[in-house]
Assembly symmetry: D2
Homo-oligomer: 342 residues x 4
């Protein structure tokens, strides 16, 4: 099987990462690459790490350029995917790494993104209950946000097993690549090195409704989420500290058992041995999720901590994993659980 | 007035930072410097940034060496301060930058530190209610822990004004200097650069009872604390994200007003203008505390975020500030609110 | 004595650093602050570390705004200083932190900067032979470039003592603040963290003719310079590795003696004890220069390594030092040799 | 073909990296793993990024444990390889990632390593003239040092084509993993983050004679080397700035042509397009070498800059590449030119 793939938005971080993974995917042939303002440039000048594609020229993002591929990955700014997608045939697998088709509730979309809702596509997080079934054979995939990936995998088992009350408090640290490649003063190396800072505080971050959607589905009841993202001085990685009040009488052993059961057969989710805690360095460049759980008996809270690479499992790796399922390929094809460390 | 000062433990990070500040203190003359295994070495080989003291030789930490000073700063491993302090006269101001005399409840000490409780000294956080009165004229000061400094200043006003319920959930990121200068594999640059990781999860970090002590005093009732510390890839700084459930009907304006009132006259606590969030880089090397508050109405929680330099306001700067109060000097002598950025 | 000072370009890194230092200068009162596109904003939003000036509003950079001060610091883009300076009276001390007035040879200026030469002002590197005499009482100061500061202080003694042949090979690493605060893709944190890269290779960096000018003056003959700058993953600091072929029969002791003699009375230049090498962390935020020398007998080369803070001694600290000399103040007023480390 | 491989020293950085690569090598089956003081521990606690091997227990490094494999990688401290190697049969391919068998001249070994010379094995740098022939079918491989890899590939073509005089001046920056995983105070994250510092200055670094050996062989005459290594605040990567005086009349076009010719068919050496400079981030985790050349006509020097990942091409990737050649496998099997960036 040879799958011919195009990538729209190949000059950004998500586009570069999906190309890095696709170059190692044995069933994929890389076709058209498009860019926005970078159209006309060679990829080697923009993504020097992708040596085998160094001479490729970026084209304009048009339906003509993207036509004739089996799969099209969209790595476009929020709000631009719908217009492109509707020009691609129903027989093309379209994988949107933007936010446009993640939310089910149009009111949530409009409140957090300020534009009309484009629709809802099958959600690319196979490890959630029912996740794989929704993706099998689909021709449209909404890749989850990076924070919702880390947070949903951390808390869904506790919610599903009713081990916690439906009020989550989450603080997550992300590497700067999560903020994209557009140059802004606060993202300069001079500003971020040696500094931690929060942003989107007070329930205003756009990934909040997506977390609520996932955790409420797992819990079978509405879950409230207090989410605070922080920017960390590292290029990649998310460390999500997720806590919720423990249900009455819940024990540490029950919590651990729920996670062992939930992820026993998952190829990418790795519950660490007791006493060992996740570190983002260990998942750098990999599709792995490292998890650890604790029960703070004095405070009466369950704490679950997850580490992912925001660009791999959090974006492009999750996208390739979902593509594999949609195409009927072995789910882990072209993906790895092995981080590049130190 | 010339205050003659000795520093026990001058080769570590806390000792080096207090020397850096004391070198700029107009009323201080630096006397004996002692080290543990480094006794006999010149300070320049261990603290090359302290050029004016480069030729000073570290002595053994003995009562004889420390005698004859007006003030003795102890920057010793936990559990070693009491034995030294009791050999120093009652007329000497002893400032302990270790944990030994911070906790009031011996049971807390024994549970978290595993040794007999040495006692309780006046607590060096002047910005807490009653803080200055406890320090005026004292001859013994227990310098707060770095996390308790960041967290207590962030949450005490909300607790004191009964704007939140007495259950705090806190996640904080610290630079690596908080872990000290003893070489351990997980603190190697190769391990920490590019990585975020938690430690002391589940209520077991030693600073937890100190936070509970401070916040309960502010609230006038027991406050439970869920505290998760994380190690961030930066040498200095603490960013503490502190949240608690908002009391019924509490508004954002009320929250902000409480903080404006609490810190209106504080020289070192800086409530940022609305819309601006703290970053640890802005307080690097300074004694400032940057604060911002938010009310997440959907989640029903108050979020307060503080940034400090763990070595300055979090340890040595707080120590000098308390020394100034104890000696009757202007509180800000030798201290600055100006960070070294970028 | 109270010196009233204005800073043009207060929103950038050089402007911010000179304000940080001036806030601690006992003879200075800070007057007008101007910005380019940031005029109208409060400084606190742009330089959050400068708490005492947080409420100051940036004004337009005009002669009217800058009038009425004793000293005006210009922290403007290259080529803009001359037009501002000529509108300021001859009785005002103008300190240009840009490149406009550093070079003596108009042809060098035109070749490297591509515009007509504006002139030559007294050069603000007091530690060079004759440096202080040129600055005493002057009303115009050209602050050296950051790399030329590090390199000239490293090699001038060897050149002056004819210990080396007049061909220098220099490789220097700079923190990213040297590239300024204008957001550009290659300066994003995501790009620079974890990466070393060169730029301006092959003799094209604009600081090259300035180094040649300084070293040739010291040597009394033309010195050729091969200079390669690299960008290092740190916010501040320059480490300059400077080498030249040793003259016939030169010994290591002679080399060391030349440096001991050259800098014996210098307050800011610190020749480290034998066996200890400079590190940029040790001079972070200080005006100190740390130096060490070696003779590689097998290769027949002298190696001198210097570490400075590019924003302090390399720009704003050097500027304040020269201002002090020009005004007849003690040279070290408001400046420190103590770095903020770790 | 299934190659059964053992790794001695699996808990360190070189051992971890070779395992990371071998896990992706389609012809390799990973056998025994040994450790020094870590014997008895599970690999997951020491190398958490190697998820597929998390449960493997480290054994003692003995001949019995290492017996029965086709290939044994030695990632041991300098001086320990010979004793192990001589107990392994002549039919086993032994790949030494330490220094023991790199140098041909016993006097060089004794002077730089202070112990008797163990011998000389075929040298694992296939891109050098004659490099592949020396490795085909061999049962013993001496993997080059990381700096000699970066430097030799940068300068050998210029030396071989007699475009430069035989005196090289080299300054290189390395990530901290090059210093290994043994905890030492100067390698703490607190010390290295935000800091550049040199070490081994003046011709005393142990990699110097290896560079001289390689460059002299390429030049056909003795080449002197002035080499200064620096420690950079990043976990991985080497950026080597290599310069030499240009021969009379040499042009930039000639220099470029020599490199294009030398590396036209090399799978891992990538001469960048003119105007683009290497950055270590682009080769992170890959076996690629990025190169660029310049001629500084004013200074009369050729500058060649190379970027490699010190752990991959600089150690473990080079080791696997040489193993492939020795075993008759396609040279690039299990290796990639694609970096993990940003």
């Amino acid at each position: 099987m040879t799958v011919r793939v195009a990538v729209a938005g190949a000059s950004g971080y998500a586009g570069g990462e999906v190309l890095r993974l696709l170059l190692g995917h044995p069933e994929v042939e890389i076709g058209a690459l498009t860019g926005g303002s970078n159209a006309g440039q060679v990829l080697g000048a923009l993504q020097p790490h992708l040596v085998p594609l160094a001479g490729r020229v970026l084209q304009e993002t048009t339906a003509e350029v993207l036509a004739g591929h089996d799969v099209v990955f969209l790595a476009l700014p929020h709000g631009q995917s719908a217009a492109v997608a509707e020009q691609l045939g129903d027989d093309v697998l379209v994988v949107d790494m933007g936010a446009d088709f993640r939310l089910k509730n149009p009111a949530d979309w409009e409140r957090f993104y300020g534009s009309p809702h484009a629709g809802t596509w099958p959600y690319g997080l196979p490890e959630l209950p029912g996740g794989r079934a929704a993706l099998a054979g689909t021709k449209r995939i909404a890749v989850p946000g990076c924070y919702p990936t880390a947070v949903s995998l951390a808390l869904a088992p506790a919610c599903a097993a009713a081990l916690v009350e439906p009020e989550a408090v989450i603080v997550a640290a992300s590497g700067t690549s999560g903020a994209g490649k557009s140059p802004k003063p606060h993202l300069l190396g001079s500003e971020v090195m040696g500094s931690m800072s929060p942003y989107g505080v007070g329930g205003v971050h756009r990934h909040t409704p997506e977390m609520i959607q996932n955790l409420s589905a797992a819990a079978g009841e509405p879950v409230s989420v207090s989410f605070t993202p922080t920017l960390a001085p590292m290029p990649r990685g998310i460390l999500a500290t997720c806590t919720a009040k423990a249900g009455p009488g819940v024990t540490a052993a029950e919590v651990r058992a729920a996670y062992e059961k939930a992820y026993a057969d998952e190829p990418f989710v790795h519950l660490l041995p007791e006493g060992q805690w996740p570190a983002t360095a260990a998942v750098f460049g990999s599709n792995a999720v490292h998890l650890q759980v604790a029960l703070d008996e004095a405070a009466g809270r369950v704490i679950v901590i997850s580490a992912i690479d925001n660009l791999t499992k959090g974006t492009a790796g999750g996208a390739v994993q979902s593509m594999n399922i949609a195409l009927g390929l072995p789910e882990a094809t072209g993906l790895s659980t092995i981080g590049v460390a130190p």
